[in-house]
Symmetry: C2
Subunit: 174 residues, 2 copies
DNA sequence: ACCAATGTAAAACGATTGCTTTACTTTACA
DNA sequence: TGTAAAGTAAAGCAATCGTTTTACATTGGT
């Protein structure tokens, strides 16, 4: 694992667990086992590092959502929550923490949410046999809802959202 | 309006718009039109101020959810989003920003989410004519989903969640 | 008229911020 | 073997953090 990957992975952990603003450079360098000089040479800035973290997370997250059915979408979220824990959506959180005023971060978030929305619409279309933007919107809401409710309601929130998704899909079919 | 109310209202605006960590004391005192001495005399600390903000917000938010039907629940959210904007749930955000390590904040968030969950269960029970914890969980997910999807999908997210809620309730009745 | 409460502005607290620099060591390859 | 790239530790940058203090002004009630 090269240094920049190590740094990105470490930063993702710390930003996710303690918050972007609350995580100082010192904590980052210590955890990643490198000097601040090396960190800045590779990352450019703290904001750019966060953007890199988000881009990498988007890649990993979207790879999990590479599925064929709506049910698999929520199954993937169950896996994600089990593996990565549930502290809310890091994308929305990092944008909120910076008030949307850090372009590198705001752009990475916008790109992710756009891709996320498109993916859900694709899966819904594939599963249903036709486009259904309204149903996709509902699935997106269930997904976001499960993600954030899971923070304080636990895993069962994802299972509940999954059940609703099945009802909606069945209803759209019939 | 007395000083502490003015301070609390100002702090809520700034924390919500720019984030808790990103909002410094100087910005707070300037916006509230008071010295830092007065701020600390009334608020105690920055974290205590945030806890006060959350408690006050809980009061205002829960007052809006004092309704009799599930549909009115989502209508109330539509109003809230229209009036207060949509930057996600300030409770979850502030806990995430502090990594859950600031007891005053974490406690205020836990208290709110507990009351929120209970309120939804109450309204569901009233509207349906009987308790239905599973349905309440689903409604909670829709509510959270609408709140967070609205950040990047806009008002329509709330309307979509409202439609799903109606379907679920009808389905539970039949 | 007085006193206690409550406010102010402004300086300073030590700690920490993101970031840069200096000086030195290790590594890899021709 | 020699050299260039890439790493390190550690000190230091000005700025800002949340917080406290100092010294003084303005109130309202007895």
């Amino acid at each position: 694992m090269d240094r920049i990957s190590k740094l990105t992975a470490t930063a993702e952990q710390l930003f996710d667990r303690h918050g972007y603003m609350a995580t100082g450079i010192d904590r980052l360098t210590e955890a990643a086992g490198m000097s601040s000089r090396t960190l800045y040479k590779h990352a450019g800035s703290k904001a750019a590092l966060m953007a890199r973290v988000l881009t990498e997370r988007d890649r990993r997250f979207m790879a999990r959502l590479d599925v064929q059915t709506v049910d698999a979408l929520f199954a993937a979220l169950e896996d994600w929550v089990r593996v990565e824990g549930c502290r809310g959506c890091l994308f929305l959180r990092s944008r909120a923490e910076t008030g949307g005023d850090t372009p590198e971060i705001a752009d990475a978030v916008a790109a992710h949410k756009d891709a996320f929305h498109r993916r859900i619409a694709e899966v819904v279309a594939k599963d249903l046999g036709q486009d259904d933007p309204a149903l996709a919107e509902q699935m997106l809401i269930l997904f976001e809802g499960a993600t954030h409710a899971a923070v304080y309601r636990g895993q069962q929130a994802v299972a509940a959202a999954r059940a609703v998704a099945a009802i909606l899909l069945e209803s759209a079919r019939g």
